[in-house]
């Protein structure tokens, strides 16, 4: 064994992860720290940075648009995640049996979550189109009134939630399907002998059996829903007005349309703590459960 080999062997636990750690420090840790510094400045790109202390934080607390963004972020998440959990559970139960073409069906429901989000957003935007979109044609065919979908302020977020449900219910379904297959079949048989009906065995055997998978799905989806950007930005750009503007989109516009760098960094710190706070909170709930 040569000397270099010896050295690598002795310090393998530090040397092997070193390149990845350096990349994380430079590309992730440094920008997060930089945001804290930037948030203390009043700075437009091209201008000179002016140190203003915590002024930007006060500004955010008094900024209607910040609160609107925070409200929209939670509205979107709290509407989308529970609905897709219920729909995903329904799909998982439907798929948890042998039927012809099961493999193909599983492949098909993978497509919404892997397809390029920009492409998905474009297609939904076409389908939402109030005058030419196919969704209004379907509504009319069913004898229902036409809708303005994303073009109407109070429907913008619910319409975007519809896209999110379409995109992500399948992921919840596949997570829960894996868990359902782990529930011992004997438990169902025992319940049937005890005279339990389908509903009772669902409540007392299925749900407890997949509880931890439900919690995992809930955590993953909540964190990602809070961060949703592509679908919202491409379909509505936060509009009409600011009706569907989440904190994510507002921070993006502040930084890259208004070029107000210091304030954008401040909004990003709020966003980061919102998401990480939600992650920690959900994880505590998980450990309690």
């Amino acid at each position: 064994m040569n000397r270099a080999g010896n050295f690598v062997d002795r310090y393998a636990r530090y040397l092997f992860p070193l390149p990845a750690v350096l990349a994380i420090l430079v590309l992730i840790v440094a920008p997060i720290l930089a945001n804290f510094v930037l948030s203390l400045y009043d700075w437009f790109v091209g201008g000179r940075p002016l140190f203003i202390g915590v002024e930007n934080y006060y500004r955010a607390l008094g900024d209607q648009r910040f609160w609107n963004g925070l409200r929209n972020t939670f509205y979107f998440t709290l509407l989308a995640v529970p609905l897709q959990l219920v729909i995903g559970l329904g799909i998982a139960i439907l798929f948890n049996r042998d039927f012809p073409g099961k493999g193909l069906a599983r492949t098909i429901i993978l497509l919404p979550m892997v397809a390029t989000p920009v492409a998905i957003a474009l297609i939904w935007a076409l389908m939402f189109n109030p005058s030419l979109g196919i969704l209004n044609y379907f509504l009319e065919s069913l004898g229902l009134p036409r809708s303005l979908w994303v073009a109407q302020s109070n429907l913008a977020i619910p319409s975007l939630v519809l896209v999110d449900i379409w995109q992500w219910s399948p992921m919840i379904a596949l997570i829960l399907l894996a868990a359902l297959q782990g529930v011992p079949i004997e438990h169902y048989e025992a319940a049937r002998i005890d005279g339990a009906n389908a509903w009772q065995s669902f409540w007392h055997i299925t749900l407890p059996g997949i509880r931890s998978a439900i919690v995992v799905a809930l955590i993953l989806r909540s964190i990602d829903a809070l961060k949703t950007f592509d679908i919202i930005y491409v379909i509505t750009e936060g509009g009409p007005g600011t009706a569907s503007e989440t904190l994510n989109v507002y921070a993006f516009k502040t930084g890259f349309q208004f070029f107000h760098i210091g304030y954008a960094a401040t909004l990003l710190i709020f966003l980061m703590f919102t998401v990480l706070g939600a992650a920690v909170f959900l994880n505590i709930l998980r450990k309690r459960a």
Partner: protein, 289 residues
């Protein structure tokens, strides 16, 4: 005797009834499964239909379901909009970021699995949980100062943050499954740790490496936010090009459909190859596919 006959008859009727209700139940379940699949596929179907329809048919108030397909939209998108150039940009960025992601991520994942470095695994998970936009403002300033806006370097480095955590988390579980004895046998034969890693561990984990690479590639291909800010005329990847395509110019439905099909097609093909790993990747290893 007649009493016996009556009871036999009624039990027969009951059995027939039970069979019928079971059949009805199966039928309902199959219909529901079909409904789920139709809803999941419809936007894709509509995307393909739109891409092969003429503009006149696309803006008809009553949807045109049957028509003579035209290649015109594809020709327009490819010829007029430099689509091939954008595709090349997407490919270069995805390939480079995946390659570097493997170079950094594989040794890190190996080290985490062998030396039980859970803190490091957690740090990489946090990188995945933090909203990507948090990093973007400092990155933008740094790349602008270095004159690297609209360069492959900036895009590759930022896409690395999308792919590398994915590679690490998938590979940890693969490396954990490689028996320690194989590695120890290599040490006895005089191999260094690096030599054992390259000649013994990596070849045994080839299927995992393929799955992780394809997932990282797909995630980079789909990335929108980083490219939106950091790319320019020379490096624009497809999602951004398509997004700009709707923002300027009038809405060309067929062109949008064709562009959406062209972005999504490679992703769907790759998905078919590694479908078993999609959910594992999307959940960062929280769920084994």
């Amino acid at each position: 005797m007649s009493q016996l006959a009556v009871s036999a008859l009624s039990s027969q009727q009951e059995r027939a009834k039970a069979r019928r209700s079971k059949l009805a139940k199966t039928l309902v379940i199959y219909l529901l499964i079909a409904l789920v699949l139709v809803i999941m596929l419809f936007p894709f179907y509509w995307m393909v239909l739109t891409s092969f329809r003429s503009q006149v048919d696309n803006v008809s108030r009553i949807p045109v379901w049957f028509f003579t397909p035209t290649w015109e939209n594809y020709q327009n998108v490819i010829a007029r909009n430099n689509f091939l150039e954008f595709t090349w940009n997407s490919f270069v960025i995805a390939a480079l970021s995946t390659g570097i992601g493997l170079l950094l991520g594989l040794p890190a994942a190996y080290s985490i699995s062998r030396f039980k470095q859970e803190g490091l695994a957690l740090a990489i998970l946090i990188a995945r949980l933090t909203p990507y936009i948090t990093y973007l403002v400092p990155w933008y300033l740094a790349f602008r100062a270095l004159g690297l806006i609209d360069s492959y370097i900036a895009l590759t480095l930022t896409h690395l943050i999308v792919g590398m955590p994915l590679i690490v988390w998938i590979m940890i579980s693969f490396f954990e499954n490689v028996p320690l004895e194989l590695e120890e046998a290599a040490f006895v034969d005089g191999a260094t740790r690096l030599g054992a890693f390259i000649r013994v561990i990596l070849p045994l984990s080839a299927p995992g490496i393929v799955a992780a690479s394809i997932l990282a590639f797909i995630f980079s291909w789909n990335q929108f936010l980083f490219s939106l800010v950091l790319s320019g005329p020379n490096t624009q990847p497809v999602p951004v090009a398509v997004f700009n395509f709707i923002t300027y110019g009038q809405i060309d439905f067929g062109g949008l459909g064709a562009a959406a099909v062209l972005i999504t097609l490679p992703v769907i093909i790759l998905t078919l190859i590694i479908q078993r790993w999609i959910v594992t990747g999307l959940t960062m290893g929280a769920v084994k596919g």
